[in-house]
């Protein structure tokens, strides 16, 4: 009798111990991941922003000050242009390719796709910086919007094709077959049958490319020299006084305006399609 009670006691103790450590762990994880971000919540609305996180003296002065900066709003528009351009490019070029790859079978197709994917995640980084720079120099693409969009789009394309192929694989072939019997061309089939069916996939890829281009620092940093063509990612680093101090007022407001679109897009995708991994990326 006594023995069982003791055992029971030990069991509950272990359980509460486990529960306490679980909450401790949860607290630490939340603190670790959220604390650095909190600055972005408070500082933009603070009359006197500091480097540390503190409750703000409410004011919209920072936004006013930011709007006085000649390049700030412009750079956000540049970012928008780069991102929309890259997103559209990736979809328009990637969708037909993924459709073709999902319908035409050849030996080693999947291996080919895998190698391409691996290749792109490696090459687009710093390793190809020099030739990308020289390529754009020779093509006259330095300091142009096209240059940035083409380079970013080219880098994202293999992964986009890879993910889109998953979507096109799952569209029923019978639709296309009946359309073909009625004499539809391949292009008509793509536009009128495949595209409407894989629309969610296209939306996901567009948002993914948009977010990638929106945050990309390295490509515009290398390819764009003129400040009036710089995107927000690069301009972030110009908000310093002549003494080298960060202009926290402008920076805080700007950082928030620059971050919000990405978060809105994430929330939209999450709500509409669910934020999860699609087949291709799984092992």
């Amino acid at each position: 009798m006594n023995k069982t009670r003791k055992r029971k006691q030990k069991w509950t103790l272990k359980r509460t111990g486990g529960r306490a450590s679980f909450w401790m762990f949860t607290f630490l994880i939340i603190a670790f991941f959220s604390t650095p971000l909190l600055w972005l919540v408070f500082a933009p609305f603070d009359l006197t922003p500091r480097l540390n996180i503190k409750l703000p003296t409410l004011s919209f002065n920072n936004f006013h000050e930011m709007s006085q900066n000649p390049y700030a709003i412009h750079s956000l528009l540049n970012s928008l242009l780069f991102s929309v351009g890259t997103g559209l490019l990736v979809i328009c070029v990637g969708a037909p390719a993924s459709y073709a790859l999902s319908r035409v079978k050849f030996v080693g197709r999947d291996l080919f796709l895998y190698i391409l994917l691996l290749f792109s995640s490696v090459v687009t980084g710093t390793a190809a910086m020099v030739p990308i720079f020289l390529l754009c120099l020779n093509l006259g693409l330095i300091n142009t919007f096209y240059g940035v969009i083409l380079v970013m789009g080219g880098g994202l394309l293999p992964a986009a094709i890879f993910i889109l192929k998953d979507f096109t694989d799952s569209t029923p072939k019978s639709y296309e077959e009946s359309a073909r019997i009625f004499g539809a061309s391949s292009f008509q089939i793509l536009r009128n049958i495949v595209v409407p069916i894989i629309r969610p996939g296209l939306a996901v890829i567009f948002v993914w490319a948009f977010v990638g281009a929106w945050g990309d620092f390295l490509v515009p940093f290398i390819l764009i020299r003129a400040p009036e063509r710089s995107p927000a990612a690069v301009l972030m680093y110009s908000f310093y006084t002549e003494g080298g101090q960060a202009m926290l007022t402008t920076l805080a407001a700007f950082a928030l305006l620059y971050t919000v679109p990405v978060i809105v897009m994430y929330l939209y995708v999450n709500k509409r399609y669910g934020f999860r991994f699609y087949g291709g990326i799984k092992g």
Partner: protein
């Protein structure tokens, strides 16, 4: 086949040509300044010989390995797995709250997060020092640790989501049987969850290692400093190429990086196939 045409052109111009060009440049003494700028000469393997004799290269290589092991394998994969596993059987609300915070750290543009972290780690006024009551200039006294913690924080979301999906795919009945048979949580993890998510674990390790290996973002936090203490290979290439305009040497290093990437990917994929 016509549909493949635009993609093929794009991938050729912006991926394959740069890669081949890197190979070629690595064999020349091309630079933007001096005599070599006017007529670059073919120098064979001289650049490689120079790089492989350069102690700075080995130092940079060592830092990169430390960075990958610390931030990708321990900081992202292991921590990500622990988080995913801890919350796998917890109520949806709490789990999605934690996930959203971790995903936010992943979504915010890199220019913004690097500023947030440099403010967070600031010696005089940084939030971290305010919390623990110190004056440490983390980015100067512990630069490697700083960028490792930063990259773990930044990239953990990918592993959390991927492992979350993997653990959710483990058949519930297997775990039930194990529980009835009296298997401890640890035994369930070791004998059921890990073997079942083996594919995901390898894919994840492969991708995040490659990403961390080629990551330029720490440059925005430390600029490779102080005194080259965080000069991981991507920053090393950048400095050689766009600060000293020594394209030959930079391309040789980039080629070595590509080779390391491919060898590593091959090893991981082959191990994955063996089972």
């Amino acid at each position: 086949m016509l549909f493949l045409f635009p993609s093929a052109i794009f991938i050729t111009i912006f991926l394959i040509i740069p890669a081949v060009w890197t190979l070629y440049l690595g064999l020349t003494n091309y630079s933007l300044t001096g005599l070599a700028a006017a007529n670059p000469k073919f120098v064979g393997l001289q650049n490689y010989a120079k790089v492989l004799k350069d102690p700075e290269f080995y130092n940079s290589f060592k830092l990169t390995i430390i960075f990958v092991i610390g931030s990708a394998i321990i900081g992202q994969a292991l921590l990500g797995f622990i988080i995913a596993w801890t919350f796998s059987d917890k109520p949806g609300k709490l789990r999605s709250f934690v996930e959203v915070i971790i995903i936010l750290a992943w979504m915010v543009p890199s220019s913004v997060v690097t500023f947030l972290w440099s403010a967070f780690l600031n010696g005089q006024n940084g939030t971290l020092n305010k919390i623990i009551g110190g004056q440490t200039e983390w980015l100067i006294t512990h630069p490697m640790l700083s960028i490792i913690v930063f990259n773990s924080w930044r990239g953990a979301a990918f592993s959390v989501l991927l492992f979350g999906a993997a653990i959710a795919a483990v058949p519930k009945s297997h775990l039930e049987v194990a529980r009835i048979a009296g298997a401890s949580k640890y035994r369930q993890l070791r004998d059921i969850i890990v073997p079942a998510s083996r594919g995901h674990i390898l894919t994840n390790l492969l991708l995040i290692s490659l990403w961390s290996f080629n990551l330029f973002t720490p440059y925005l936090l430390t600029g490779g400093g102080p005194g080259g203490k965080t000069e991981i290979l991507p920053i090393f290439v950048y400095e050689k190429a766009l600060r000293y305009f020594n394209f030959g040497i930079a391309s040789a290093i980039a080629t070595i990086m590509l080779l390391i990437n491919f060898v590593f990917a091959l090893i991981v994929i082959r191990r994955g196939k063996q089972k």
